[in-house]
């Protein structure tokens, strides 16, 4: 450790514990001094501090030592008394307030804890603490229990102007006016006197003064009298460069020229006088006094005998003195003398001597129970230990002891008083008791406060001592303990404690924060609001960034409130903002926060714009920008569809095959390169921005005037271009030859007054309940060309505060819906190149149902309207799902539905398939001559057919071109999106079975089930497509379905006969009409087709025409269904059946040959040639393997009738209907030949297959092959030629057409019975 004297505490002690000189002067003296703006003491004070005096001192020991530093404290006699408590308090308060004002202005907040610590220590610790502590210590001076404040000498000053100066000197030292300390016996009134004659040179010549001095010397002695001449300067213009009085007159105005009449000689004279006074008079006097006292003490107290005597004597007087303060000691008591000896030794720097005397006296005081004096001595011992730099432990122990004793002396005093009350007043009445108690309380309070204040001083010194030794934590504890009932002082102490925690290694920041908050709280209680704010603000960095939100809210809220009290509403608001979105607080607290906040905002008298308003919370990641460039949306639903979906839909429609960037590349010459990647929007068309707002609080809030903040500026490219064409476009040199698009230049900024005419911003108001979240759509419509930038959003909270939120804030999370796939900076996502207004088609499909039944067929009307001044042409349309929707002919627009679907005699059937190719490609070209003129609309018929049930999205894109409007954009697309819900209506399934031995006739079974929950259907008609087929009912419908309509859940089975047999697909078609709709049509033209390909299923007496299945919409939709075969097995109207004449397996065969043979069995062998026709009806290559086996026993499987109809592993075309499952067996029985089992079993004569026993062949898709077969018969009889097995394997063709049947399938088929009768023909031969 460094020299203790050079530590802050050491310096403080050397300044504060120094000899006191009592100054007595006449009014004339003061008057002369005041010419300089100074009092006498102020005038002399600068010269009382000797830092390099170098005086030899000899105290008790014989060895002299040299005193380097010395200081005198000058006081007027009137000030030598214990200061008035109230006055002292007032002064301290003033000090604090003053500091508060000063620091408040210059305080700057460190935002981070790290910053806080990185500053140098001296900067961190406010300097005013030292000053305050000193002031606080001074309030306790001139206590009777310690001697270092007792005047050592008396300086009597008389002016040469005074009458009879010698008498004045005598008058001055009049005992009546002397301080009470000297009068009440606490100190020796015989003190050293020094006489000074002050001569003001302005008052007259020096001669008179010298004569007076001679008189004085005669009267008071040669050495004790001196003269000072001053105010030598006549004009008072002397200006002291280094003003020595500045620190002694703190309240001096800066304009005041202190010491203006004092020239250098005067100053030197004063200086010399003070030095002489201290070195020649005061120090020798003190030395002498120490020696005398020491001798006395040695005589009475040192040595074994004296100690015993002392001990015995003290025991003896124990009971006699009984006051709270212990015994009263007068100046000539030995205890006081020892104390004086110690203090003098201390002041002269002889700490060893001081310590030994303190030790001596402390035991005495302890024995005497003079607690206050004991504490005072302990205190001094601690300080002496410190200055001796010995035994830290002892020093601390002494300080703690002193501190506790000061505090306990209060308690001890109270205790004794109470004891006395008890002793004397036990018999008195209770009223008396109360009276006494009151007096006691008053006494103890007074004592308590004095003791406390002493303890405070002791604590300050103790804490300083600990700080010097880097025991900052302990120092903080001491400061904390100092806190007493004086709130203001406590506040300062707590603040000092907090700094101790901050400076401790490692810093204890939590405690730092806590003590600051405590301190602030105390400051607030004393109305030191500025201090309170300062401390709370210092605490902010501690809590910043932590999740201790309760504390954080408390701090911010109070700072806000206090700033509001000071009228600094702006700052108040910023702090209140911090607590606004406190979700964790209770509802009442949130209400309080919000209410106070709004009140403060109101008081500011202006609408606040707050950048980081947390209420409501904006979910930036939810930001969605919807804009339209060449792609326009018919509805909001279309905008929410994924871009990739549209892109794939539009791929072959927009001009080039490399669709995406092509339109840009084409025009790269025109658009500056910089903007190639920025988004484009069209003037007059709204940009929509979806933002999510959330109320984090539990209380409702109202938000109004929510709008976007946008900047619209002229194209900077253009501006730069005009300035420096060459430089700007160096890399783009070729482009200059093409010139730039000319923009109407209008430089706009935020503050531009006519921004309203250029931008239209939507405003939204809403209110949010507690915890509610809402998505708001905001729009901005640029009116002129330029660069539009969406900067952020602003809103008004409770119509008082404007919140702003910049979108650049958290760019990572931003999502721009229409952003190009390329990665580019987020700022460009919100930047748009506004181009000139363009035509924009509005599209709408009339009466498109949202909910319908599967199979519903109806005409719709698409309406396209053009609101602009320019025509558009070259329209194309693409529909994502042609099974549901396709464009009709314009002439169909006003056709009567459903009558238009009916068969007409004169219609050429073959000519109605004009649209097939177009619809297959999904792309519909409107006729060349069709264009949408300006401000008109175009209607176009569409056919709608609910092909599949489920939730069906429909995407429609309409492409159109406009000419001569903009060179940037030549075409646009209109995107429409609808969602359909298709409910199940009828389930239709078919089963086709061959008629035995007639491969050209089939039995068709149709099962129809009404799957709706409530609807009722009427089945009208079954038609086969393809004119080769003739279909007829086996029994009249009336007998199956008398009610003629199919109610919900009802099922129907019908049987039909089909004739004719090209090997081709059979497509069956049933037209269904909702009864309600079909009842409107009445047409009486009978069907006269050659072949009956339609069957009426409705009422037979109905003479309605059949619906023409080969006419336009029906046939087209049918084609669609065909092309999407395999995708669905639940089609109602058009049920594709892939079927072969004999079974459901893709492979069918027919064994053909003679049925009856006559053979002469004289020749033993009868060979019969048969032909097997194998048909592959699938789209796959089939490899067929025919195995014949001769012995019926080798085939253990019973030849069941059902085998043929049992499905193999794979069965296509059959849609399962569980409801009719039970009837299935019956039907199969009905459909297959009823061969009596007995017959087949009985008549199994032996025959053998001749020729190959195994044949393998490969069949191409949809082809037929013939295989010769031969058997040998040995005896006449009836033979069942079913002893063979067909194995088939289907290998899909790899041309990708048959995705639905990609699986390899295989199956085994038993041969079916073929009966051959062989007769004996002997007779004929």
């Amino acid at each position: 450790m460094a020299d203790p004297a050079s530590t802050p505490l050491g310096k403080m002690l050397l300044e504060e514990i120094t000899p006191v000189v009592m100054v007595l002067c006449t009014p004339y003296v003061e008057e002369s001094c005041l010419k300089n703006g100074l009092s006498l003491i102020q005038l002399l004070s600068p010269f009382c501090d000797f830092t390099n005096i170098d005086v030899p001192v000899r105290t008790a020991s014989d060895q002299p030592y040299r005193l380097r530093k010395f200081k005198l404290r000058l006081f007027y006699s009137s000030d030598i008394r214990q200061p008035n408590l109230e006055v002292a308090k007032e002064r301290l308060k003033k000090v604090i307030t003053h500091v508060g004002e000063k620091n408040f202005v210059e305080s700057s907040d460190p935002s981070q804890v790290n910053n806080l610590l990185s500053r140098p220590e001296s900067e961190m610790l406010p300097s005013w603490f030292q000053f305050f502590n000193k002031e606080l210590v001074r309030t306790l001076s001139f206590s009777d229990h310690e001697a270092f404040d007792h005047p050592v000498a008396c300086l009597l000053v008389v002016s040469s102007k005074d009458d009879e100066p010698v008498n004045r000197f005598v008058d001055l030292f009049n005992t009546n006016k002397l301080p009470s300390l000297l009068n009440d016996g606490a100190m020796d009134p015989k003190i050293m006197k020094h006489y000074l004659l002050l001569h003001d040179n302005q008052d007259g010549p020096f001669n008179k003064a010298t004569k007076l001095l001679a008189d004085m010397r005669n009267a008071f002695g040669q050495n004790d009298c001196q003269i000072i001449c001053f105010n030598s300067s006549q004009d008072g213009k002397i200006h002291h460069q280094d003003n020595p009085w500045a620190s002694f007159k703190s309240d001096a105005l800066p304009t005041e020229n202190l010491g203006c009449f004092l020239n250098l000689d005067d100053l030197n004279e004063i200086k010399d006088f003070m030095q002489e006074l201290s070195s020649k008079h005061i120090i020798p006097y003190m030395e002498q006094k120490i020696r005398v006292l020491n001798q006395q003490v040695s005589a009475t107290r040192k040595g074994f005998r004296n100690q015993i005597k002392n001990l015995w004597w003290r025991k003896g007087k124990e009971d006699t003195i009984d006051t709270p303060n212990g015994p009263v000691y007068t100046f000539n008591s030995i205890e006081s003398q020892i104390r004086i000896l110690g203090d003098y030794a201390f002041m002269l720097g002889d700490y060893e001597l001081a310590l030994s005397n303190y030790r001596l006296i402390s035991t005495d005081y302890k024995l005497d129970k003079a607690w206050k004096r004991y504490a005072g001595v302990q205190e001094m011992m601690g300080l002496t230990y410190f200055l001796l730099d010995q035994s830290r432990k002892d020093a601390e122990y002494c300080m703690e002891n002193a501190f506790n004793t000061y505090l306990n002396s209060v308690a001890a005093g109270i205790e004794e008083v109470i004891m006395r009350i008890h002793r004397t007043n036990l018999a008195k009445s209770s009223a008396c008791d109360l009276l006494w108690m009151g007096i006691v309380a008053c006494n103890s309070l007074k004592l308590g406060s004095a003791g406390r204040r002493n303890a405070t001083r002791c604590g300050i010194w103790w804490a300083e001592m600990l700080k010097t030794r880097d025991q900052l934590k302990e120092a903080a504890t001491v400061y904390f303990r100092i806190c007493g009932e004086d709130t203001l002082h406590s506040a300062v102490m707590l603040e000092q404690a907090s700094f101790c925690y901050l400076l401790s290694k490692p810093p204890m920041l939590h405690k730092y924060g806590f003590h600051l908050v405590l301190s602030g709280d105390h400051y607030k209680k004393c109305d030191q609001i500025k201090h309170a704010i300062r401390t709370y603000r210092s605490a902010i960095p501690v809590y910043k960034g932590t999740t201790w939100s309760l504390i954080k809210d408390h701090v911010h809220f109070h700072i806000g409130q206090w700033y509001a009290l000071l009228g600094m509403y702006d700052v108040a608001v910023t702090h209140m903002l911090e607590v606004l979105a406190s979700t964790h607080q209770s509802k009442t607290t949130q209400e309080l926060f919000l209410r106070d906040f709004l009140q403060i905002v109101q008081k500011t008298g202006k609408t606040f714009e707050v950048l980081k308003l947390q209420l409501p919370v904006i979910n930036i990641s939810s930001l969605k920008v919807i804009f339209e460039d060449q792609r326009t949306n018919a509805s909001a639903a279309a905008a929410s569809v994924k871009e990739s979906l549209w892109r794939s839909l539009e791929e072959d429609m927009i001009p080039s095959s490399t669709a995406r960037f092509n339109w840009l590349e084409l025009q790269s010459k025109i658009i500056p390169r910089k903007y190639k990647e920025s988004n484009i929007c069209v003037a007059g068309e709204a940009l929509k921005v979806d933002i999510e707002f959330k109320n984090p609080l539990q209380i409702p809030i109202s938000v109004s005037s929510v709008s976007l903040m946008c900047e619209l500026s002229a194209n900077p490219e253009e501006d730069a271009n005009s300035l420096n064409n060459e430089v700007q476009n160096n890399e783009d040199r070729t482009s200059t030859s093409y010139g730039y698009v000319f923009f109407y230049s209008c430089v706009l900024h935020d503050d531009c007054r006519d921004i309203n005419s250029c931008l239209i911003l939507s405003e939204v108001d809403f209110s949010l309940e507690g915890g509610e979240t809402t998505v708001v759509q905001l729009t901005v419509t640029p009116r002129i060309e330029g660069i539009l930038k969406i900067v952020g959003v602003k809103w008004k909270l409770s119509s008082a505060v404007v919140g702003l939120c910049n979108f650049e804030f958290n760019p990572v999370n931003k999502r721009v819906v229409r952003g190009r796939r390329k990665q580019h900076s987020p700022s460009s996502d919100l930047k748009f190149l506004v181009i000139k207004s363009l035509p924009r088609l509005e599209g709408f499909i009339h009466s498109l149902p949202e909910k319908t039944y599967a199979g519903d067929l109806r005409p719709l009307v698409l309406e396209l309207s053009n609101q602009s001044k320019f025509p558009v042409k070259n329209l194309k349309m693409k529909i994502s799902n042609p099974r549901f929707l396709y464009a009709g002919n314009q002439k169909e627009l006003n056709a009567d539905f459903p009558a238009c679907l009916k068969k007409k005699m004169n219609v050429e059937k073959s000519g109605s398939h004009a649209n097939v190719n177009k619809t297959l490609q999904n792309l519909f070209h409107f006729p060349e001559d069709i264009s949408v003129q300006e401000e008109t609309s175009l209607s176009w018929p569409l056919w709608f057919h609910a092909a599949v049930r489920g939730n069906i999205p429909l995407y429609i894109t309409i492409y159109y071109e406009m000419e001569g409007v903009s060179s940037i954009m030549k075409y646009r697309t209109l995107r429409m999106h609808y969602n359909l819900q298709v409910l199940p209506s009828l389930d239709v399934s078919f089963q086709l079975s061959t008629r035995p031995s007639r491969s050209q006739e089939f039995l068709l079974r149709m099962d129809v089930v009404n799957k709706t929950s409530s609807e009722c259907f009427q089945v009208h008609q079954l038609s086969s497509v393809g004119q080769q087929w003739e279909i007829s009912l086996l029994q009249p419908v009336d007998s199956i379905l008398p009610s003629q309509s199919l109610f919900a859940g009802q099922s129907l089975s019908c049987f039909f006969m089909l004739k004719h047999s090209p090997v081709d697909l059979i497509i069956l078609k049933i037209s269904l009409q909702d009864r309600r709709r079909s009842s409107t049509s009445e047409d009486s033209i009978p069907s006269l087709s050659h072949i009956q390909s339609d069957v009426r299923l409705g009422p037979q007496d109905n003479s309605e025409a059949f619906f023409d299945v080969s006419s336009s919409p029906l046939a087209d939709f049918h084609d669609c269904e065909r092309s999407s075969q395999g995708m669905s097995s639940q089609v109602v109207i058009f049920l594709p059946l892939r079927s072969s004449p004999s079974s459901m397996s893709p492979i069918s065969w027919l064994v053909d040959g003679p049925r009856t043979i006559q053979h002469n069995f004289s020749a033993p062998l009868c060979e019969v040639n048969l032909k097997m026709t194998i048909t592959n009806s699938s789209d796959a290559i089939a490899s067929v393997h025919i195995n014949t086996f001769d012995s019926p026993s080798s085939n253990n499987q019973p030849i069941d009738d059902a085998t043929t109809s049992q499905p193999p592993e794979h069965q296509s075309g059959w849609s399962e209907i569980p409801i009719v499952n039970d009837t299935k067996i019956i039907t199969t029985e009905a459909l297959t030949t009823r061969v009596p089992k007995s017959l087949s079993l009985e008549s199994v004569p032996h025959y053998i297959w001749s020729g190959t026993s195994s044949t393998k062949l490969v069949l191409q898709p949809r082809s037929t092959a013939e295989i010769p077969l031969q058997i040998c018969v040995f005896t006449p009889g009836i033979y069942d030629l079913s002893n063979y097995v067909l194995n088939w394997i289907l290998t899909p063709v790899d041309d990708g057409e048959n995705q639905g049947e990609a699986n390899k399938s295989s199956g085994v088929c038993q041969g079916y019975p073929y009966y051959l009768s062989v007769l004996e023909s002997n007779f004929k031969d």
Binding site: E485, Y501, P506, G513, L518, W548, I551
Partner: protein, 159 residues
């Protein structure tokens, strides 16, 4: 005001009991703070808990030299204020448990026992797959269990 009691040493002797328990994460973030007083002193208790973290840090950084204390989780008395005693406990994952009590002469064993049970409750709470580590503990079961433990504080040793 709320803070006056701390400094002025007001002699409001409540029933001697646990007034607050807290779980503080390894970044000194509060995970769970529950006070068991009727008074509106949440802020004060927050401050006390927050303050005691300094002492926890100090204890952790300057462990006593002797071996057995190396793995000791119980930190002992942290912070004697005039009205309260604050005890600390540190888990292996540097999660701190803080106990604030008005009971001025608590037996060490009681406190240790309390912390052991509290630790078990905490482990069960964070083992919940729906608990996000580092976030506040919101489990109602945990809260119920803690209040049970708090209520039975000091009783077990008396038996």
């Amino acid at each position: 005001m709320f803070l006056s009691e701390i400094t002025a040493g007001a002699k409001i002797r409540e029933e001697e009991m646990i007034v607050c328990v807290a779980v503080v994460g390894h970044q000194n973030n509060p995970l769970y703070i529950q006070s068991f007083t009727d008074a509106d002193d949440a802020l004060k208790l927050h401050h006390i808990v927050h303050c005691s973290l300094d002492v926890v840090d100090e204890r952790v950084n300057n462990p006593k030299k002797s071996g057995p204390t190396l793995n000791e989780t119980f930190l002992g008395l942290l912070y004697p204020t005039e009205n309260y005693k604050v005890y600390g406990y540190l888990t292996n994952t540097k999660v701190k448990f803080i106990l604030v009590t008005t009971d001025l002469d608590v037996r060490d064993g009681d406190v240790r026992n309390f912390f052991r049970r509290f630790h078990a409750a905490y482990v069960d709470a964070v083992s919940n797959p729906f608990h996000v580590p580092g976030k506040k503990i919101t489990s109602r079961t945990f809260a119920d269990r803690v209040s049970t433990i708090v209520q039975s504080f000091g009783l077990s040793s008396a038996v």
